[in-house]
């Protein structure tokens, strides 16, 4: 009798769960918000173009109109901070991995829990655990609270011209940074014909601090800060990484300190350099015959490993909801974010040129076959460093210091040691003023 009772309860429970799961549809959830206009901030990058391609489907299903403004990356934080402080119009917030501490810490982002606790808004198939843990933790989480869902996801990858490598006698890419500089680079550099082995985008700005400076710290066992948030730049490991970058410059195109992403990608696409380390998002550019001359020779691998192992660059953006938006706009924004980052939309998003943060889609044999960047990217995300760049609110200020002195180092205006000392002193001054050393702020990065 008792067995039957438990069986009935279990059956009823399962039935109710499945009914509620079946009951939730995007169309019905969006019904109260039909005609709502929401505003999102997008960048001029492939992941956003992909989302724009998919937008009509969402708008047709929900009747919610998603307006978007495309801003240059360098202005996107300024645009949003001014909007937050001035009481503006943005509903869907774009959060770079290095802004999550600032945006969430200031209360500008609505915690995801607000929506996941609301059965009318939460898709039962949301499955937060279906995101790569490193992405959800880095871009979306601050202090154990989730504020955004990974949307435009990057890992640093080694893109190379396999034809050029083969002509130089290499049938595989370099596995380590040491190999890249000492074995591959001499054979791939022909300065007379303006052909270079490698290009590292190093233009002043976040490109210098994130793509160039930080990229050479981690693989060599170095880091920006130690456990007590003091500068670690003059440690033997950090110095080794920075010195390595300086030595590698002789195999890079002249004027590399003025190379941004576009120039580095273009240098490989035009066949002027043999290898670059760039974000996964640029695969669609490099494999597009209208933008690249090397589509047949393009190959992708993980970034080379250093003495500390594989420590590739990590970057990307989450989408979150502005805490100051009206309730209706918050709900409509959440429905959009939940939909565009869903497991269901992961494949269409990739096919439209985006890079999804969902694990499941990359197990698809068809996706693996069509997109050669998938395997190295998944390997990178499985072994990456979540705090590749500190995510606290002071990072933009530190980034300015690193960008200025990092380029000065590369130009030879200051020595590696002097540059590291200057950055360290300025950095500690900023962090001291912020309250990290007197215990008024937790050491969270």
């Amino acid at each position: 009798m008792r067995k039957k009772l438990w069986g009935a309860i279990a059956f009823a429970g399962a039935l109710m769960t499945s009914v509620s799961a079946m009951a939730w549809t995007l169309e019905e959830a969006a019904q109260p918000y039909k005609g709502t206009n929401i505003k999102a901030i997008f960048l001029d990058r492939p992941g956003y173009a992909a989302a724009i391609k998919l937008l009509p489907e969402f708008e047709k299903k929900t009747g919610i109109k998603v307006n978007y403004e495309i801003v240059p990356y360098e202005n996107s934080r300024e645009r949003q901070v001014l909007d937050f402080t001035g009481g503006g119009e943005i509903d869907v917030v774009l959060t770079d991995v290095v802004w999550i501490g600032e945006f969430a810490g200031n209360g500008w982002l609505e915690p995801v829990k607000t929506f996941t606790d609301d059965a009318k808004l939460a898709d039962p198939k949301l499955n937060l655990k279906g995101f790569f843990p490193i992405l959800l933790e880095s871009f979306g989480t601050w202090g154990d609270e989730v504020y955004g869902l990974p949307f435009d996801n990057y890992s640093g990858l080694l893109y190379y011209n396999k034809c050029t490598l083969q002509q130089a006698g290499f049938d595989k890419p370099p596995a380590t940074w040491d190999e890249l500089m000492n074995v591959y680079a001499p054979k791939l550099t022909d300065t007379a014909n303006r052909k270079y082995a490698y290009a590292l985008q190093s233009r002043r700005g976040e490109t210098q601090s994130a793509d160039s400076f930080m990229r050479v710290l981690w693989p060599f066992g170095g880091s920006l800060l130690d456990d007590k948030f003091k500068s670690n730049l003059n440690s033997a490991q950090s110095q080794a990484g920075l010195k390595f970058r300086q030595d590698l410059m002789k195999y890079m195109p002249p004027g590399i300190v003025d190379y941004d992403h576009a120039e580095a990608v273009n240098a490989l696409a035009q066949g002027n350099v043999a290898m670059i380390t760039e974000w996964s998002a640029f695969y669609s550019t490099l494999s597009d015959p209208s933008k690249s001359k090397i589509t047949d020779c393009l190959a992708v691998a993980t970034e080379p490993a250093g003495p500390a192992g594989l420590k590739p660059a990590l970057g990307g953006f989450s989408l979150g909801v502005n805490a100051q938006s009206s309730d209706a706009k918050k709900a409509a924004s959440w429905l959009f974010i939940q939909w565009v980052t869903s497991e269901e939309m992961a494949k269409p998003y990739i096919e439209a040129g985006g890079v999804s943060g969902r694990t499941e889609v990359y197990k698809d044999a068809d996706i693996q076959k069509r997109y050669p960047f998938v395997a190295p990217m998944v390997a990178s995300w499985d072994g990456g460093v979540p705090d590749f760049r500190p995510r606290f609110a002071e990072w933009p200020e530190l980034s300015e210091v690193v960008a200025e002195w990092g380029t000065r180092m590369m130009l030879g205006n200051v020595s590696i040691e002097q540059g590291a000392q200057s950055i360290g002193a300025r950095m500690e001054e900023i962090l001291g003023q912020a309250g990290y050393y007197d215990g008024s702020k937790p050491l969270r990065k």
């Binding site: 600032e102 609110a393 200025e404 590369m410």
Partner: protein
């Protein structure tokens, strides 16, 4: 009758009502301009002045914003990066403005010569094109012109057997490239202002001078130059103010780099104000820059300006 004037005697002019009407008319004409100026000029300046005495970071909305006296000004005074940027800006000023005035004068004198009126009209119109270009666009064009691999600058150098030059990746060359773009954009302005100054020279004096001497230089130096001094003063004041607040071209072209090679003072203030969001220190920097501009303008008027 109520006015008290007798028939046959001429009516006294109604002084007060006329003055009142005139004042009302003047007020009506001036009010919109004054209101607009107050809204977009005076209010932000006063707001910046108040902010310059407060600790105020936009990105830290939970922090208090107390008045801290002159602390922000002291921070600026002891900031080597600010002085570095200011020094670079003056270097830029003394590099580009004399060249712009010299080239502008040559163009103005050519356009002032009699004859070829159709050609000169075309030349005058084409001078407006660089002026009409948005500075941010000029910076983007500069980025293409000085591209090492496919830029026009290196193509021209290759044509004469020189180069290629690393323009934007080298500290000195990047400074030169930004200066060249500024010279391209603002020389026409100098030419047009100087041309307007040349039209002030009475033709009879110019003709008399031509009968006295055949030296072109002497006519420029002793006849035309005195009439040009007010124009030169205007150019100096406006170009100084422009260069002290020059941001768009540099930001789009080099972003202040490489290193800090092209970080002019406005680029630095933008970094402090809109990357670090320290409105207090950025406002103090901006106010100091405003004072500097006013002082320089007074010096130009005192030492350069002469009434003819």
């Amino acid at each position: 009758m109520s006015s008290g004037t007798q028939p046959g005697t001429p009516a006294k002019p109604a002084v007060f009502p006329t003055m009142w009407n005139n004042k009302r008319a003047a007020f009506a004409f001036l009010a919109p301009a004054v209101a607009a100026l107050a809204l977009i000029g005076i209010f932000p300046t006063v707001f910046a002045l108040v902010n310059s005495f407060r600790r105020y970071n936009l990105a830290k909305p939970r922090d208090p914003t107390p008045f801290i006296g002159l602390d922000n000004y002291l921070t600026v005074l002891y900031d080597p990066s600010f002085w570095g940027a200011l020094g670079r800006t003056f270097m830029f000023l003394v590099t580009v403005v004399p060249i712009q005035i010299a080239l502008g004068l040559i163009i103005a004198l050519l356009l002032h010569k009699p004859g070829l009126s159709g050609f000169k009209l075309l030349a005058r119109l084409s001078l407006v094109i660089p002026l009409a270009t948005a500075p941010a666009v000029a910076g983007l064009i500069g980025r293409l012109i000085f591209n090492r691999d496919f830029g026009v600058a290196n193509a021209v150098l290759a044509f004469v057997g020189a180069g290629p030059v690393e323009w934007l990746g080298d500290t000195t060359n990047a400074f030169i490239a930004v200066a060249l773009m500024d010279i391209w954009q603002w020389t026409p302005f100098c030419a047009l202002v100087l041309l307007a100054g040349l039209t002030m020279v009475p033709t009879e004096i110019e003709e008399a001078a031509r009968l006295e001497t055949k030296s072109r230089w002497q006519i420029v130096r002793y006849v035309q130059m005195p009439f040009l001094l007010p124009s030169v003063t205007v150019i100096l004041i406006l170009r100084t103010a422009d260069i002290l607040k020059m941001f768009d071209t540099v930001f789009t072209m080099t972003r202040g780099g490489p290193g800090a090679a092209t970080e002019l003072v406005s680029v630095y203030i933008q970094r402090v104000g809109f990357r670090v969001f320290d409105q207090g220190v950025a406002s103090a920097q901006a106010i100091m820059l405003l004072i500097l501009t006013i002082v320089l303008a007074r010096l130009y008027v005192k030492y350069v300006y002469r009434e003819v």
